[in-house]
């Protein structure tokens, strides 16, 4: 039931804040609305009950183990939230002058420095508002670099077939053609195919390392040499940075630009709009093109670096300086961990993934890359179960919900049939990993003894198995205000063609 359906004309809740006296805006009279907006009219208790009920219907990292591969759903320490909410930070107006923002700017400056160190890059801009914008900024800088040299023959971005779907989408957004590079049987980029694909048309390559197959790209230095020799640049997708945090650095591997997902690796809130934060770091070649504003320091304080300081910048990506509240949480997280803690994140993320992979393998599950050591995540393929008893990866995923576990990522990466991509993260205890393994073993038994029961899962969630085919074919995103949710008649919407 939507909150609009609880609405009764005239019902009110009191405001907790003192009303603003007098006119505060100079909006001309004829622009002011005459009728009140169509907002739900409910009591405070109704609003509290409604949203509490919704929150209880949800799976979240605060309530459940959430091994969603490639998403790094780690615990968000409460301390980060508490400290980022200090009045001096929360009450700062985004348009306040730098002279009144020195504490806030010091946090951002130090975060830039820490991200530089952890990625091995020369400079970092915190401006991108989320991972997708970080990717966009990264490839836009690659484009700006080639343009600044008058090198306009470079029309292609290389993307391994194991990449996140966002990579080819970003390349297309920046006006490039995408050329796919195959993966070999061991999960590494096919170096011979790469050598054949590079040339004068190569603007760059977009790589995730460790890859979405959950393995470390072993020939990364050879890849870097091949691409650089052809005049292309290397872009590092920071989606899987958690695995190598404090252990290996993209800058040392030869990457020219990286983006980081602070909402993954630096433990800021994640999902449901986050909001995210996708800082970019660059090496020497891309230094002049970083997005603005950044924070600079000149001995007697911090200042914003803007257009006059960075004339070749790709520009601004939002009205202010990125998602400030999220950057503060990431800053506090990094400060709380310190240098030694940062190394332990990478170590324990990897240890947890390898422990869980080993337990599942011992229990008879098939790993997609059994010869490879898992990084922070690994892939189980349920190909055999699907073939023998007709219980597939989606059935396992749905049944896991009944056991109190958020499902791992299903059917991604596309290269592995019937796959679950499992990322436990470093914040889970051995007991929660054991519990998950036991649930998988139990579901395997159910799949063999009563497959129809597994097909019907989940049984314990607020809604049962959704018809995701109908949901995709007949998108219905707007409440019409007339019917209740039960007799809602979906109106088909025309799908937009995809990019990439």
């Amino acid at each position: 039931m939507l909150i609009f359906e609880h609405s009764r004309a005239g019902r009110r809740a009191g405001s907790h804040l003192a009303p603003n006296a007098g006119k505060t805006a100079d909006i001309p009279e004829h622009f002011l609305r005459k009728d009140p907006p169509a907002l739900p009219e409910v009591s405070e208790l109704q609003a509290v009950r409604h949203y509490t009920r919704l929150s209880r219907a949800n799976f979240s990292i605060d309530t459940h183990f959430y091994p969603l591969g490639s998403c790094t759903m780690k615990y968000n320490p409460r301390a980060c939230n508490t400290l980022a909410m200090l009045p001096g930070l929360v009450d700062r107006h985004p348009a306040a002058p730098a002279s009144h923002s020195q504490g806030f700017m010091a946090c951002l400056f130090e975060l830039q420095e820490m991200l530089k160190e952890v990625t091995g890059m020369l400079a970092v801009s915190l401006a991108p508002m989320a991972g997708a914008q970080g990717e966009f900024a990264g490839v836009a800088m690659i484009r700006a670099y080639h343009d600044s040299r008058g090198d306009d023959e470079r029309t292609e971005i290389l993307v391994p077939d194991a990449a996140h779907g966002t990579n080819p989408a970003t390349a297309v957004m920046c006006g490039y053609k995408v050329r796919e590079i195959p993966t070999d049987a061991q999960g590494d980029v096919d170096l011979d195919a790469l050598k054949e694909a590079v040339g004068r048309q190569t603007a760059g390559i977009m790589l995730t390392n460790p890859s979405t197959l959950g393995v470390f790209e072993r020939r990364i230095e050879d890849i870097a040499a091949v691409v650089h020799e052809a005049g292309g640049l290397l872009y590092y997708d920071g989606a899987n940075l958690n695995a190598i945090l404090g252990k290996a650095r993209p800058g040392d591997m030869g990457f020219d630009v990286v983006h980081m997902n602070l909402h993954k690796t630096f433990s800021t809130p994640h999902g449901g709009g986050g909001p995210g934060s996708g800082p970019v770091g660059v090496g020497e070649r891309l230094l002049p093109f970083l997005p603005i504003p950044m924070v600079g320091e000149n001995g007697d304080g911090y200042r914003w670096l803007t257009e006059p300081d960075c004339p070749q910048s790709i520009g601004r990506l939002s009205a202010f300086m990125g998602n400030a509240g999220i950057m503060l949480r990431a800053y506090i997280y990094a400060r709380l961990l310190g240098r030694t803690g940062m190394v332990r994140v990478g170590e324990f993320a990897t240890l947890n993934a390898n422990y869980l992979a080993a337990r599942l393998r011992q229990a008879g599950f098939e790993l997609a890359y059994p010869e490879r050591r898992a990084t922070h995540e690994f892939i189980v393929t349920l190909k055999r179960q699907a073939k023998e008893v007709g219980v597939n990866a989606m059935d396992f995923a749905k049944r896991l919900l009944d056991f109190g576990y958020h499902a791992p990522t299903t059917y991604f990466p596309l290269l592995v049939p019937e796959c679950l991509l499992i990322e436990p993260t470093e914040t889970e205890s051995k007991e929660s990993l054991d519990g998950f393994a036991e649930a998988m073993i139990e579901i395997e038994k159910e799949a063999r003894t009563r497959p129809a029961y597994v097909h019907g899962a989940p049984y314990t969630t607020p809604v049962r198995r959704l018809d995701d085919v109908r949901a995709a074919r007949e998108l219905n995103l707007a409440w019409s205000g007339k019917q209740s949710a039960q007799d809602d008649v979906p109106r088909p919407l025309k799908r937009q063609p995809r990019v990439g």
Partner: protein, 130 residues
């Protein structure tokens, strides 16, 4: 086990080709391909009149699981597209070799289809993946 009609030709990217009497070819994705993809929710069709190269991406099929490119098995001009798929992508799942056809092409080389994989060869490929 998926269906592989004897009379059609195939390519390793899982498209089928039917040689028509008038020298044109009809193209779709195989039964094996639709089974692997699962229920389709969207099909993006090429424009009629477009010239496609051999192995060029010409359409996109999207399921709940994934979006995949459909490659042209041979070079030629697009004569017609199956408009019904815009409203009913499920036709590909229901009848991959019939109502679920995707495009009709006039091949640049009229004999091009004959060089493609026959049913026995494709069956082997599909089985190795199942």
């Amino acid at each position: 086990m998926s269906e592989v009609p004897e009379t059609l030709r195939y390519v390793d990217t899982h498209e089928w080709v039917r040689q028509e009497d008038d020298g044109t070819v009809t193209i779709g994705i195989t039964d094996h391909a639709q089974q692997q993809l699962g229920d389709l929710v969207f099909v993006e069709l090429p424009e009629v009149g477009r010239t496609v190269a051999d192995k060029e991406e010409m359409a996109v099929v999207e399921s709940v699981k994934a979006a995949s490119d459909v490659y042209s098995p041979l070079a030629g001009d697009v004569l017609a597209v199956n408009e019904a798929l815009s409203e009913a992508p499920e036709l590909v799942n229901q009848d991959a070799y019939g109502d679920g056809w995707i495009v009709k092409i006039r091949p640049t080389d009229p004999a091009a289809a004959e060089a493609l994989m026959d049913a026995a060869a494709y069956k082997e490929l599909a089985e190795s993946e199942e």
